[in-house]
């Protein structure tokens, strides 16, 4: 409802608004280390360590990397392997020598001369229990079943992929944009606004402890042979970060005047960024002809 209201108000404002450069300089509170990693089970830990910069600077998302930083990983409080600086697809990462493991608690630290040392910590959540992915060619609906564990609050992130077989192995090719039945997200706005997403995070408050069938409506008609779904169990920190970052981005895109500026969640001491745990489950299906 709020989203719909905000859209309406946005339209009203857009009809009459005029803009000009404000006579206020954007402040800068100085350089800090930015530490970012989503720690995923069975995968090495990829850690980005960069430096913050003034708000006014345009950089096309090329933030200064800090390859000289000293980075460590602790698992349940004990040192866990080593990290090495690597260039991957044009970007520098500190990559752990060991993969993350289920049920563990990780702490990542980074230090750099001239900047305050930072640290962030989080746990690995449970792997989602999902199955029975179904889609039909020429249709716009995708279904799967999720069994939500009782007794705790669970958070999920859902990606849908168009997939194909390469060398006999099924591989995700392209993300599909979709929307969720509003009865899951309590968000009627998607129905009205025709809004589709490729990345949705959701809390289990509507189906805690239940086995439910998710019905997703895709934006484009399904005309491919295979489909994959990645349902990721995410920690509370990851949920807060993804939610607030998406809200900040959305407010910026839509010139949202009515909500206060969104503070993006961070669990990094003395710096910025996020250290958060995730545990993905992949399911796939052949699209029914």
């Amino acid at each position: 409802m709020r989203v719909v209201l905000l859209c309406i108000i946005g339209l009203l404002i857009a009809g009459t608004a005029c803009n000009k450069k404000a006579d206020i300089d954007l402040p800068y509170e100085g350089d800090r280390i930015v530490l970012n990693t989503f720690i995923q089970v069975d995968s090495p830990v990829y850690i980005r360590v960069t430096k913050s910069q003034p708000v006014a600077v345009i950089n096309d998302l090329n933030f200064q990397e800090l390859p000289q930083a000293q980075v460590t990983i602790l698992e349940d409080g004990a040192p866990y392997g080593t990290v090495n600086w690597q260039q991957i697809i044009g970007k520098g990462y500190f990559v752990s020598s060991l993969p993350a493991r289920p049920g563990k608690h990780y702490t990542v630290t980074a230090a750099m001369t001239g900047l305050s040392s930072v640290r962030g910590t989080d746990s690995i959540p449970m792997q989602p229990a999902v199955q029975d992915l179904f889609a039909q060619k020429g249709g716009n609906q995708v279904r799967f079943t999720l069994q939500d564990p009782p007794g705790i609050t669970n958070y999920y992130r859902i990606h849908l992929y168009e997939a194909d077989t390469t060398g006999g192995e099924l591989k995700a090719k392209k993300r599909i944009v979709y929307r969720l039945d509003p009865s899951f997200s309590n968000n009627f706005a998607d129905i009205v606004s025709d809004a589709f997403y490729e990345d949705i995070v959701i809390k289990d408050e509507r189906f805690a402890g239940q086995t439910v069938q998710f019905v997703l409506q895709t934006s484009n008609t399904i005309d491919y042979r295979f489909m994959m779904a990645q349902v990721i169990g995410i920690s509370e920190s990851a949920y807060k970060y993804l939610q607030t970052a998406a809200r900040q981005q959305s407010d910026a895109d839509e010139s949202n005047a009515l909500t206060p500026p969104v503070k993006v969640y961070s669990n990094i001491e003395n710096g910025y960024g996020i250290v958060a745990g995730m545990y993905a489950k992949w399911i796939s299906c052949k699209v029914k002809e």
Binding site: R2, L5, I8, K21, I24, G138, D181, I191, T221, L258
Partner: protein, 878 residues
């Protein structure tokens, strides 16, 4: 010549040599001297000895007298009669004793002689005894006089003052029917004249004349009570174009808005741009910013008490008007002449009807689609007089903002296809509004005791529903979803109030009441008739919480001494919710001391308690905000306010001047945690997502008002500070509240030009409001691994700096209005042209980060939404 010589001789001989009698001519000129001084002068100059007991007869009272060569009897009468002192000659002495006379009480109603409309705040005055009172909000007065008087004077602005003769003795019931000054003009019942400010102990109160509301410049042609209130000192409307109203640094949910005594939870339309009160049916509007009378409670920061008109008891009248965005009507008249009257009004915006086709195309709703977006109000009131002692009022209000969108695409229709191989229908409706109903019974128990019994109901709701149908054409897919959301707060009130005037030195008000609150903070209902239904349960958060509030209050406006008045009151409230009970004792104290030159020094100290909270973000209030009761963790809000000021109304009622300073503390104020997203519904554990803090505000206000004549208006200035403190925000440091505006100046004038024209203008200036700006940018993250199948492009994150640490630009704006009125054969036509933001000042509505690609930099961009806006209103009144 011999007579002249004799005269000169006599003037040199002390009079006491000759003795005295009641006809002896004396001269006595005193200014603000005590009675004792007067007696001593008479004794010294004329040998008149006074005998009295100091314990019984108070000769310290100050008198002013200018008697030259008057008979002694007359002079003593002037000195002692007003002070209730009897004088008798015994031998060669004047013996002074306390005069005991039976008090008498004159009571009744003040009304308009033409329409029978009750007049709120009319002055009933006994000049001889310098005693008076004003009618209460039902038009009732009770004046107890210490002694007999032959007449009373009644006055009210816009009416001819009138003297009413009284029988010699005894209590009397007297209906005061005043004649409007110009019967050709609109019958002015809305503009009242309070007694002089220096005669009121009440401070921090502003009475708004509704004729002024109609005269001041309008936004889009709609006169607005609340918008006019926002142009007064101590009241801030937030960013230009937003509708929140902050009084002395409070938040909008801390304002108690009453319509005929019934709370109205959402008092605005179109996200705060217009208020829900149609000025055509408003009789009186009072704003209390502090020094709250004991009868009010339940909110921290202000009370806005609005009374509807009763309806004409004698003749039928009607009014129709159309403005740039809305059309409205009002009709009133007698159902039973002089016994029963009614008033009925309605208003609806009509822009959506004009733009429907364009909106259908713009939104791609299809040929069978519909689009409506409107607001409406409807008011009705019936007033019946059973007897001089009993009256009944029944009033109701309903109003709503609504949006309705219907979209339909059918692929079998080649002109109106769906975007994919499916047929799709969806309907969406969204609305919010208030419903209120009030039943009041006035009963006069005795000339000194008036009562009012009230039962009222109030509801605010926000609802949404959607219906969605999807049918695949090439594959057998079928979805049929229905969803509904509703949030609501309901109030049921029963109370009885008494107005008791035991003697001239006391005006007592007391009462008890109970309010039942029913909270439904956001319930979802879903139906899934699809081929493969998803969720097993169909409702979410569907529960009500019931809270019962009980109040008891009493207050006494007490004349402690001729120059000193005390208003002492206590408001006791208990709030019972989910087996928890919150008790609060709220003292309400006011003091008035009359200074020389008829200035009044006033002071007040009040506690206010608010057991209900509004869940809102700290940006702008929205109709989706949720009312919730206090919980174990989030206790009722409490404020303490101190106020000190001086005030004066000139003798001729032309000018009023008041200056006040205040300090207010607020505890248990809440806001969302920083990472909490906005609520769609408040479940049982909503209080886990809010933080609890405190606030304070302090400052000074100055108001100079010209109330009479062809030129009217006011100049207001506010100097204010308000801040908040939460343990988890800004490292626990205080930060400026979003309504923290240091300086605010408002200048409003209304100038009548002849019989037909009126010009008005309003200029407002405010220093910048606080905003939060980002202080750094950094790289965000979207995916765990650079090898993910489709890694996102990454994201830039802006880190927010300290809360509200930066000030926006100053704002100022001039609004102008010209009104032309003609009257022919009892038909009055009015044209009004208003110019909002006449010099097109680009005031900030909000700020956003923008990119200048030429300069390769990001910068802060100011967005203005209200440029110069002309509007026109036409009305015809019969």
């Amino acid at each position: 010549m011999s007579k002249l010589l004799l005269g000169m001789l006599l003037s040199c001989v002390p009079l006491q040599v000759l003795g005295w009698d009641w006809h002896t001519r004396v001269t006595l000129v005193l200014k603000e001297e005590s009675l004792l001084t007067a007696c001593r002068l008479l004794e010294k100059n004329y040998g008149i000895h006074f005998s009295f007991s100091r314990d019984l007869v108070d000769l310290s009272r100050k008198v002013t007298i200018n008697a030259r060569n008057k008979p002694l009897k007359k002079v003593l009468e002037l000195l002692f009669e007003p002070n209730d002192i009897a004088y008798t000659r015994i031998g060669n002495q004047v013996v002074l004793t306390v005069k005991i006379t039976p008090a008498r009480t004159i009571s009744g109603y003040a009304e308009d002689a033409h329409t029978g409309e009750k007049l709120i705040g009319a002055t009933i005055y006994c000049p001889g005894q310098q005693a008076g009172t004003v009618t209460n909000q039902y038009g009732f007065y009770s004046l107890t006089l210490k002694k007999d008087t032959s007449s009373l004077l009644a006055s009210y602005v816009g009416y001819t003052p009138q003297r009413y003769p009284l029988p010699a003795t005894g209590n009397r019931q007297l209906t005061v029917a005043l004649q409007p000054l110009n019967s050709l003009q609109e019958v002015v019942v809305t503009e009242n004249m309070q007694p002089h400010l220096q005669e009121q102990t009440q401070m921090s109160k502003i009475n708004l004349a509704v004729t002024e509301v109609k005269s001041v410049p309008k936004l889009l042609g709609e006169p607005d009570v609340l918008r006019t209130l926002q142009s007064l000192p101590g009241v801030s409307g937030g960013a230009e174009g937003s509708g929140g109203m902050s009084v002395r640094g409070g938040s909008p949910d801390q304002n108690l808005v009453l319509l005929d005594g019934t709370p109205v939870f959402n008092s605005s339309h179109v996200f705060g741009i217009f208020s829900v009160f149609n000025p055509d049916i408003v009789k009186n509007a009072d704003l209390y910013k502090g020094a709250f009378p004991a009868r009010y409670g339940g909110r921290l920061s202000s009370v806005i008490d609005i009374s509807m008109k009763d309806g004409d008891m004698k003749e039928y009248h009607g009014e129709v008007s159309i403005s740039t965005i809305a059309a409205k009507f009002m009709v009133e008249g007698p159902l039973w002449k002089d016994r029963t009257s009614f008033i009925l009004s309605g208003r609806r915006s009509y822009i959506d009807l004009l733009l429907q086709d364009a909106m259908n195309k713009t939104l791609g709703l299809g040929k069978k689609g519909d689009f409506y977006a409107y607001f409406y109000d409807a008011n009705v009131r019936i007033n019946h007089i059973f007897s001089p002692k009993d009256r009944l009022y029944l009033s109701a209000y309903g109003g709503e903002d609504a949006l309705s969108i219907k979209e339909e695409h059918d692929n079998s229709d080649g002109d109106d296809p769906s975007p994919g191989p499916y047929n799709q229908k969806n309907g969406f409706r969204l609305g919010w509004g208030n419903l209120t109903g009030t039943l009041r019974w006035n009963h006069v128990f005795s000339p000194r005791l008036f009562s009012n019994v009230t039962f009222n109901y109030s509801q605010y709701y926000f609802l949404t529903n959607y219906h969605y149908e999807y049918d695949g054409i090439t594959v057998p897919e079928h979805s049929e979803l229905y969803g509904r959301y509703i949030s609501r707060i309901q109030n049921g009130v029963g109370k009885i109030d008494f107005d008791y005037r035991p003697n001239p030195n006391h005006a007592v008000k007391f009462g008890i009441g109970s309010t039942t609150h029913i909270f439904k903070p956001g319930s979802f209902f879903f139906e899934d008739n699809s081929a493969t239904p998803s969720l097993p349960d169909t409702t979410y958060n569907n529960f009500n919480t019931v809270g019962v509030e009980m109040i008891m209050y009493g207050e006494d406006d007490w004349q402690l001494a001729p120059n000193l008045h005390l208003n002492a009151g206590l408001h006791t409230a208990g709030f019972l919710v989910e087996k928890r009970f919150y008790l609060s004792l709220q003292p309400r104290l006011g003091l008035r001391y009359l200074l020389p030159q008829h200035w009044a020094l006033k002071a007040a100290y009040t506690h206010m308690n608010q057991p209900i909270h509004l869940l809102t973000n700290n940006g702008t209030n929205l109709p989706t905000d949720l009312w919730v009761p206090s919980t174990q963790k989030v206790r009722p809000m409490l404020s303490r306010q101190w106020a000190l000021g001086i005030a004066k109304t000139t003798e001729d009622h032309q000018y009023e001047f008041s200056m006040e300073a205040y300090f207010k503390s607020m505890n248990n104020v809440i806001e969302y945690t920083e990472e909490a997203s906005m609520f769609n519904s408040a479940g049982k554990k909503w209080d886990d997502q809010v933080i609890i803090g405190s606030g304070r505000s302090y400052g000074g206000e100055l108001l100079l008002e010209k109330k009479l004549g062809n030129t009217k208006g006011w100049l207001g200035y506010t100097l204010a500070w308000t801040d908040r403190q939460f343990p988890d925000v800004n490292n626990g440091q205080r930060f400026p509240f979003k309504y923290d505006v240091r300086h605010n100046i408002e200048l409003t004038f209304m100038q009548r030009l002849g019989k037909h024209w009126e010009l008005s203008g309003s200029w407002q200036f405010a220093t910048g409001m606080p905003v939060t700006l980002p202080v750094a940018s950094y790289e965000g993250i979207q995916d765990p691994s650079p090898y993910d199948p489709v890694a996102g492009p990454g994201q830039r994150v802006d880190e927010l700096g300290p809360r509200n640490a930066v000030r926006t630009a100053n704002t100022h704006r001039l609004d102008l209005s010209v009104t032309f009125t003609t009257t022919k054969k009892k038909r009055t036509r009015t044209w009004n042209l208003s110019l909002y933001n006449a010099y097109n000042q680009k005031n900030p509505f909000f700020y956003q980060i923008a990119v200048d690609y030429n300069k390769q930099e990001r910068y802060l961009q100011q967005v203005t939404i209200l440029p110069i806006l002309p509007s026109i209103t036409y009305s015809i009144k019969l």
